[in-house]
């Protein structure tokens, strides 16, 4: 707890009064001392002079004759009266011996009764005291009155002594001494001093008290109120923000006004912050939903693996929602369509335009449009409803998974990379971004992908990645990182490693989207004539794919039974066999153009043992080896699909 101002002020004031008082006492006492000394001297002198005058006018002879004479007693009474009137302690008349070495008392009186009796006895008429004469006595003997009182210390206490000569007929016949008590003098000094100091102190204390009252009312009270307000500013919110009811017309008043203004400012500031926070929370929640929607439309990761191709995609928006997009469409007839695009700008606006573009493109491509036709058609729609003048660069391609033919069209997008032995940037017309000009006139182009080659599609966010030295990652580094990749997944991995290592530590500003399509080719597509001579070729393929082990032999057993059935009974001229390896399953599809036959629903039931030499075991064996068998008749073909589980048995 801090000491209060009031307490501190009281202490300071008390110290001031104390010092003041001490100083006043010292000065006052010093002054009074002088004054009292003068007065005492004057009184002593008056006493001595009066006494001398009385003795001079007395019959001196008679006076010195006897202590009991009337003259003596009268004179003594007179002297005693003077002594009492003037407040002297002693008054005495004495003669000095001719040798000046002793004195002989004539009359001694004291103002106090006890002392008077004592001096009457001890220093009465004729009492002799041997002592050396003092300076003033020597002066007095010469008839000269001394100029000041002398302080003496003897058995009767500290006194101021005045010595006066008694002169008769021009000769000094005796001396008169008058003593003024030093103690009395001191008491008087004290009395006078106190008379001045005490009222002064009283006035001072009163003044201080008034000052303290004023300080308390005008300063301490408002400060306390302010302090409480500040203390409870948050906890007693409602109270603290009310204006203060303190308005002294001084600096404290100004402070209170400033405080009121500060409260007002803070109040409106708080309201602003509350509004802003609520606004931000709402925006954040909406953005969160938008991000989830975008993630649903453009997943961060896509992996597709089929018999003759595999696709791998990575997408990473620089901000919550981005303008990059991609699409992978697999068609029933084995075609694969891939699209990558980049919408101008970023954020919500780009995301909205992106969704529109992607949805329209998806619709056209599903409808069987070629890439160029789809892009041209979407461009027309976008141009009709694009008030913000946004645009998108898109590259779309369709792969014929049977022969590796890749037909594509470019709408202003970055040039893809073809990997493999003849790694290169794809030679493609740069086209024109869609959404800007109504007659885009984008054209289809086709190449043939060789087995093992991949096409790498990427947004400019990849090549525009920067490192800490503000260098771009660039198309060349991208090319080098993917040129030797042997699968879509490896291409993505290798590029990701190169790009993110390059850009480590630098903030990225653009979306990162890469799509790799690896064409593994139709090595897993067999076209066989349905004769038993084709069996070795079938056997080699199956064992190559499924493994030359017990499991592979069992899968081949099923395939042989299927193939032999086709060869023996279908009258087909061609059998196509497609292999699709996916994780730990192998899908083998037999297509033949023979007479319709559905082995799945055919009765393979209970033939007797002795009839088995005529056949009928094959289907039974197939059904036991395959995990799943399905049959459909499509396009004039029997299509039998077997699914096997790979791995150790």
């Amino acid at each position: 707890m801090k000491s209060s101002i009031l307490k501190q002020t009281v202490i300071i004031f008390c110290l001031a009064v104390l010092i003041d008082s001490v100083a006043a006492v010292i000065f006052c006492f010093a002054y009074n001392n002088r004054l009292t000394g003068d007065i005492a001297g004057q009184l002593a002198r008056a006493g001595a002079a009066s006494a001398a005058h009385i003795v001079e006018n007395t019959d001196y002879g008679e006076l010195t004759q006897s202590e009991t004479s009337d003259v003596y007693l009268n004179t003594r009474d007179c002297l005693k009266e003077i002594c009492g009137e003037l407040g002297l302690k002693y008054l005495y008349v004495y003669e000095v011996s001719p040798g000046k070495d002793s004195i002989r008392y004539i009359i001694s009186v004291a103002s106090e009764e006890d002392s008077d009796k004592r001096v009457a006895e001890e220093r009465g008429l004729g009492a002799v005291v041997s002592r050396a004469l003092k300076e003033q006595e020597l002066y007095a003997l010469e008839g000269v009155e001394p100029e000041k009182a002398y302080v003496e210390k003897n058995e009767y206490g500290n006194v101021y002594t005045w010595t006066c000569p008694v002169i008769k007929d021009g000769a000094v016949i005796a001396l008169v001494g008058s003593d003024y008590s030093a103690r009395m003098m001191f008491l008087q000094e004290v009395h006078r001093t106190l008379a001045v100091i005490l009222p002064m102190i009283a006035v001072l204390i009163f003044a201080i008290f008034m000052a303290l009252v004023a300080i308390r009312k005008k300063i301490l009270f408002p400060i306390n109120v302010l302090s409480q307000r500040m203390n409870g500013f948050i906890t007693d919110e409602g109270v603290a923000l009310e204006p203060l009811d303190i308005h002294p017309d001084n600096e404290i008043g100004e402070m209170a006004d400033s405080f009121d203004k500060m409260c007002e400012d803070i109040k409106s500031y708080l309201e602003n912050i509350e509004n802003l926070t609520a606004e931000r929370a709402r925006a954040s929640a909406e953005l969160d939903v938008a991000r989830r929607i975008q993630n649903g439309i453009v997943p961060e990761k896509t992996e597709i693996s089929r018999g003759s191709y595999n696709v791998s995609v990575r997408a990473k928006a620089a901000r919550d929602v981005g303008g990059d997009f991609y699409d992978c469409l697999e068609f029933e007839d084995g075609r694969l369509c891939v699209v990558i695009g980049d919408v101008s700008g970023k954020g919500i606006a780009a995301a909205m335009f992106m969704v529109m573009t992607r949805t329209l493109l998806n619709d056209r491509l599903r409808g069987g449009y070629s890439p160029a036709a789809a892009l041209n058609s979407v461009n027309e729609v976008l141009c009709q409803s694009n008030p913000e003048g946004m645009f998108a660069t898109v590259f779309a391609a369709v792969l014929n998974s049977e022969n590796g033919e890749l037909c594509f069209a470019n709408a202003g997008h970055t040039k893809p990379v073809i990997t493999g032995g003849n790694a290169r940037f794809l030679e493609v017309d740069s086209g024109i971004s869609i959404g800007v000009f109504e007659n885009s006139d984008i054209k289809d182009e086709c190449i043939k992908l060789n087995k093992g080659e991949s096409i790498i599609l990427y947004s400019d966010g990849v090549t525009d990645m920067v490192n800490v030295d503000k260098e771009f990652f660039g198309a060349d580094r991208l090319f080098e990182s993917v040129r030797a990749a042997d699968s879509a997944r490896n291409a993505i991995k290798s590029l990701g490693k190169a790009a993110f290592e390059f850009a480590a530590g630098a903030e990225q500003f653009d979306d990162y989207t890469v799509l790799a399509l690896n064409y593994t080719g139709a090595e897993t597509m067999l076209r066989l004539s349905p004769t038993k001579d084709s069996l070795p070729e079938l056997r080699k393929s199956v064992l190559d794919i499924a493994g030359a082990n017990q499991r592979g032999r069992k899968i081949y057993l099923a395939c042989e039974e299927v193939f032999v059935n086709i060869a023996d009974y279908s009258e087909a001229s061609l059998v196509e066999i497609e292999f699709e390896k996916k994780n730990d399953t192998l899908k083998i599809t037999f297509s033949d153009n023979g007479v319709p036959f559905d082995p799945v629903s055919a009765d393979t039931g209970h033939k007797r043992f002795c009839e088995l030499d005529s056949g009928g075991m094959g289907l039974n064996i197939i059904k036991q080896i395959a995990e799943n068998i399905s049959y459909r008749r499509y396009g004039g073909k029997n299509i039998l699909t077997l699914v096997f589980v790979l791995g150790d048995e």
């Binding site: 038993k532 001579d533 069996l535 070795p536 017990q550 032999r553 069992k554 081949y556 057993l557 042989e560 039974e561 032999v564 043992f609 002795c610 088995l612 030499d613 005529s614 056949g615 075991m617 094959g618 039974n620 064996i621 036991q624 080896i625």
Partner: protein, 96 residues
């Protein structure tokens, strides 16, 4: 596929080595056909048989008929035995 035929009076032993499938099964059929009529007991040693398909199985069934049941299969690997089981007639045959 190679087939070793070993005839001892009325008992014959065929040793099959390799793959017995649709393409090779006629060879086994010919080998059984070539056996003398006096042979009434046939043993097929399958210790070196790597593969058998239904074409092979059919020949086993017809051999079983021809020998009037006096057919013995021996030294079947688990893999081959599994195929007999799948075909559903392992129990009908004399497998040792």
């Amino acid at each position: 596929m190679t087939i070793n035929t070993n005839v001892n009076d009325c008992a014959a032993v065929l040793e099959i080595d390799g793959w017995l499938d649709t393409q090779t099964s006629p060879e086994l059929g010919a080998a059984i056909e070539a056996l003398d009529a006096s042979v009434t007991e046939l043993t097929i040693d399958m210790s070196k048989l790597e593969y058998i398909s239904s074409a092979g199985l059919r020949l086993i069934v017809s051999a079983h008929k021809r020998m009037n049941g006096n057919l013995t299969l021996k030294n079947l690997s688990p893999e081959i035995l599994d195929v007999f089981n799948m075909a559903g007639f392992a129990k009908k045959l004399n497998i040792v």
